[in-house]
């Protein structure tokens, strides 16, 4: 009887190698990839004009194709909120709840194998590779708190860990698994060469925006000023785009930095108050927060004008729109660079 494993596919090299090691032992492998909303994949490339032309690919799909396996992409945006908002094990260096995130994903994979008649789960985790979630003592925590227990096999470091059910049952030959540990990437690169994989995605920080410092600052600012930590998918998408300036507790501006961001933000014009320069070429700005009074409209326009081609003009005309309903024209003198206070700039 052919045993079946599901592999957590992040799109990086480690999950590619882990899955291949198991395929080599005659196990039928399929992939699972989770979409949290914070994934770095694609979004910013698709938004920014200068990146639009660059050939891009979804790395998880690419990995699946290299392996010749099916890939199931699962939207976990809603359920994942609780992981980000209330991580039992806390955050890493930024707002990345890596340990809780891993537990959550393995738990989802465990549910998935039960529903789909698979035998066990594999991940590309390596002991000691990342600061927090991949310490040796975290490995049993992930296995037990996810409920997967000994159905969770990490082929790249299995020899450093107690034998799992697939090994004890003889579905998998433990001797053929690896004993990688620590931060060096050399063993992975050597194995990639052995398997004939090249052109794989290089690890660039974490697998998601939550490990990014500036992104985390913007998310924290959003939470602080709303007075709660709830968020919607649109909120976290908008944190990936534009210059964020908060001149008051009541509102912030999201100002496009280039054409692609202008197009992206204009898709939100019906949901937000917005400002567009009229007399000069300039960016579109969305206003996130409470409805503005007249003096706030003037301030928001003077800030936006600062980022237009009319920044040195005596007067710039802008159009202030109220969520796509009514709009009016506003004339302001752009703020000078000094008048934009440093502590207004979120990122």
């Amino acid at each position: 009887m052919t045993r079946k494993a599901v592999a957590l596919i992040s799109g990086g090299l480690d999950s590619l190698l882990a899955a291949r090691l198991i395929q080599q032992q005659g196990i039928q492998v399929e992939g699972i990839n989770f979409y949290t909303g914070f994934c770095v994949e694609g979004h910013t490339h698709a938004i920014r004009s200068r990146d639009r032309k660059r050939a891009k690919r979804n790395n998880a799909l690419w990995v699946a194709e290299q392996l010749g396996i099916k890939l199931h992409i699962i939207d976990i945006v809603e359920e994942y909120k609780d992981v980000v908002i209330n991580p039992k094990h806390g955050y890493g260096a930024n707002l990345n709840p890596c340990l809780d995130c891993k537990i959550f994903m393995v738990r989802k994979a465990h549910e998935w194998i039960r529903d789909n008649g698979f035998d066990f789960i594999i991940t590309g985790e390596v002991i000691g590779q990342r600061p927090k979630s991949q310490r040796k003592r975290c490995m049993p925590v992930i296995a037990s708190e996810s409920g997967a227990d000994d159905l969770l096999l990490r082929p790249l470091c299995a020899k450093n860990l107690p034998a799992t059910l697939p090994e004890r049952e003889g579905w998998i030959e433990r001797e053929l698994l690896r004993d990688f540990s620590g931060r060096s990437r050399k063993p992975q690169m050597a194995l990639a060469t052995e398997f004939g994989f090249d052109d794989y995605a290089q690890p660039a920080g974490g697998c998601c925006f939550l490990t990014d410092h500036t992104y985390s600052v913007k998310l924290q600012d959003l939470w602080d000023n709303r007075g709660n930590r709830e968020y919607e998918l649109d909120d976290i998408m908008l944190l990936k785009v534009g210059r964020h300036i908060r001149p008051s507790k009541h509102f912030k501006l999201i100002i496009a930095r280039e054409e692609g961001e202008n197009n992206f933000l204009s898709g939100y014009k019906n949901q937000f108050q917005s400002i567009k320069t009229v007399s000069h070429p300039g960016p579109l700005a969305l206003i996130e927060g409470e409805p503005l009074d007249d003096s706030q409209v003037e301030l928001a326009c003077a800030i936006t004008a600062r980022f237009s081609k009319g920044r040195d003009a005596d007067s710039v005309e802008l159009r202030f729109s109220n969520g796509g309903q009514d709009s009016r024209s506003v004339h302001v003198k752009p703020l000078t660079a000094d008048q934009i206070k440093q502590d207004w700039i979120i990122a």
Partner: protein
């Protein structure tokens, strides 16, 4: 010819157009045709790749006014539920 099932994935970014297509295809029987419209240029790679690895066939693909339109037929093997 059976009807075509439509999936509107406009204004969504990678991998959401693929997820929308996948969730729709999973509910269909083999042979059903699904048309998906996306505005994310990444779809030009992602949708055909997803179809290839999961055993579905892209019958047509075209780009029109910054929209990417694919006509996909569900494969026999695509019964992932």
């Amino acid at each position: 010819m059976s009807d075509i099932v439509e999936v509107d994935a406009r204004r969504l970014f990678c991998p959401l157009p693929v997820i929308r297509l996948q969730n729709c295809i999973n509910k269909q029987i083999a042979g059903t045709r699904v048309r998906v419209v996306s505005t994310d240029p990444g779809s030009m790679n992602d949708i055909p790749t997803w179809c290839r690895i999961n055993g579905h066939q892209v019958l047509e693909s075209q780009e029109r006014d910054r929209e990417y339109i694919f006509l996909v037929q569900k494969g026999d093997d695509g019964s992932e539920g």
